[in-house]
């Protein structure tokens, strides 16, 4: 084994800081503290099955799905337009899409407070035109807005990248064969863009379902998501066992959604990490 010296420091690092911590999460997740010490128990999983926690889980998944769908509806046309010939400098447009992500996401999310407040900018603009006020701050809608805002580029970029590589002659061929633009879209463009759509959905859903910051800032702490629950268990309640159990459940959700999306991406691409 030549050159193993180069890999050794990393291997040690990897075991201490990646493998051991995850093993500890598993350990805490499947044990409880009893009077006579630590005991193996799945009671925390049972506890999570109580309606109060299931409601939080359901809310997390629901908000993440809604945000993902909105991102898809808003983002797909954007990707299609950017990949088309509407703009001269496509690369600049794509760069402009990425630039907002370069600002700290806490700050950007926080800025929505200024926009959405009762006397905020949006309402003063609406007021000038005599339109009804928009009072969505500290509601579920605000949390969804925050998710869509933060993750929309993750939907647009993969779809754009697939679309910009699409073989245009296929579209021309379909048109030559008499397909109208709706059929061309349904039968040619959309199926070809599917890999990008799948990537986009994964990339929006995963951070959305695990966030605890957006719900805290824009939901005003009223809309507890599973991320908030985990944060509370570790930082305020101090019940690491239950917190670890929920982390494990969250990892399983991510795993399932990944497998699911992997399937959707086509059988030829099976295999990989899991």
């Amino acid at each position: 084994m030549k050159r193993n010296w180069a890999l050794t420091p990393y291997l040690i690092w990897m075991i201490i800081f990646i493998v051991v911590p995850l093993a500890l999460v598993v350990y805490y997740g499947i044990t409880v503290n009893t009077d006579s010490g630590v005991a193996f128990s799945l009671s925390n999983f049972k506890r999570f099955a109580e309606p109060i926690y299931l409601r939080v889980l359901w809310r997390s998944i629901k908000l993440a799905i809604i945000s993902t769908i909105i991102c898809l509806i808003i983002g797909y046309p954007v990707a299609m337009i950017l990949a088309g010939n509407s703009f001269k400098h496509k690369n600049v447009m794509v760069m402009l899409l990425v630039v907002p992500m370069w600002m700290n996401f806490l700050l950007r999310t926080y800025a929505w407070l200024t926009l959405l407040e009762k006397n905020g900018i949006i309402n003063s603009i609406l007021g000038k035109f005599g339109l009804p006020m928009l009072n969505i701050l500290y509601t579920e809608s605000a949390v969804i807005l925050g998710m869509v805002y933060n993750f929309l580029p993750f939907m647009i970029l993969p779809i754009y990248s697939v679309m910009s590589k699409m073989d245009y002659s296929l579209i021309e061929a379909a048109e030559d064969l008499g397909a109208n633009s709706l059929i061309v879209f349904r039968r040619v463009i959309f199926p070809l863009s599917l890999p990008g759509v799948v990537s986009g959905i994964t990339m929006v859903f995963m951070p959305a379902v695990t966030t605890f910051v957006i719900s805290r800032l824009l939901g005003g702490g009223q809309f507890t998501l599973i991320g908030n629950l985990i944060e509370q268990q570790f930082l305020y309640v101090g019940d690491w066992n239950f917190g670890s159990t929920m982390s494990l459940i969250m990892m399983v959700i991510i795993l399932i959604s990944m497998l699911f999306m992997n399937k959707a991406d086509g059988p030829e691409r099976s295999g990989g990490l899991w």
Binding site: T8, F105, L106, P158, T202, T210
Partner: protein, 291 residues
Amino acid sequence: MVRRFINKFYVLLVFLFLYAPIFVLMVYSFNDSRSRGNWEGFTLRWYVELFSDRQIMSALYYTIIIGVLSAVISTIIGTAAAIGLDRLGGFRRELVMNITYLPVLNPDIVTGIALMILFVFARLQLGFITLLLSHITFNIPYVMLSVLPKLKQLDKNLYEAALDLGATPGYAFKTVILPEIMPGVITGALLAFTLSIDDFVISFFTTGSGVSNLSIAIYSMARRGINPRINALSTLMFLIVLALLIIVNIRMSKENNGKGEKNYASKKQVFASASSSDRVSSSRLYELEQQ
């Protein structure tokens, strides 16, 4: 014509949505009022006060120190790991790569609490050291993912030739391999630095005893009430990160000149999905960029 106009208008609207909060932050950093919402004249007051705010200055100090240290250390470990890994084959390589992808694919909150459990378990006082260790940990995979493609392109015979001509392994490494992979190493280091200064979730769980970076300071300030100094700070940070990332992008587009490759290395997830090409479904992005 009409359709083209509608298309442009739609994209413009979406961009407006994406940029609105940033404009708001920037404009209000010059507002001569403590409260948000009303404009009371132009001032640079917040930019001046920013530098005498001890909480912000201490957070800035830790952000930069952690960013630099974690970038340097993770670049050294990550580059060495990539070189070692490049020679490894088969099952062992697969295993190491899969574990390397774990922090990339795991939700940040899970990585954060897992590291926090480790530190508390090891009786390490949460603070500067634990923050640094965490940042190095989540940076290493990105350095490796930047360096590995460069090693793949490298002609292995060059190194052997240097050895045949009497170079010591160390000398051959310094004069043959390192110059070839240097662009990947520097990109990895810059990426590590930006990821470090941008991180919130993992830092939030792995720091303590008064050590906080800017993200954490912003989070705690946002909860207590709003201070226009945050706006001033965010405007400055945005411009600094913007400058840094433009440099990375220019570097990358120079390297990839002619291959039609674009990069979205600007953000962790995009980069992760782009790089972990044979792992997650989101990989198509990268594959298609490669063609």
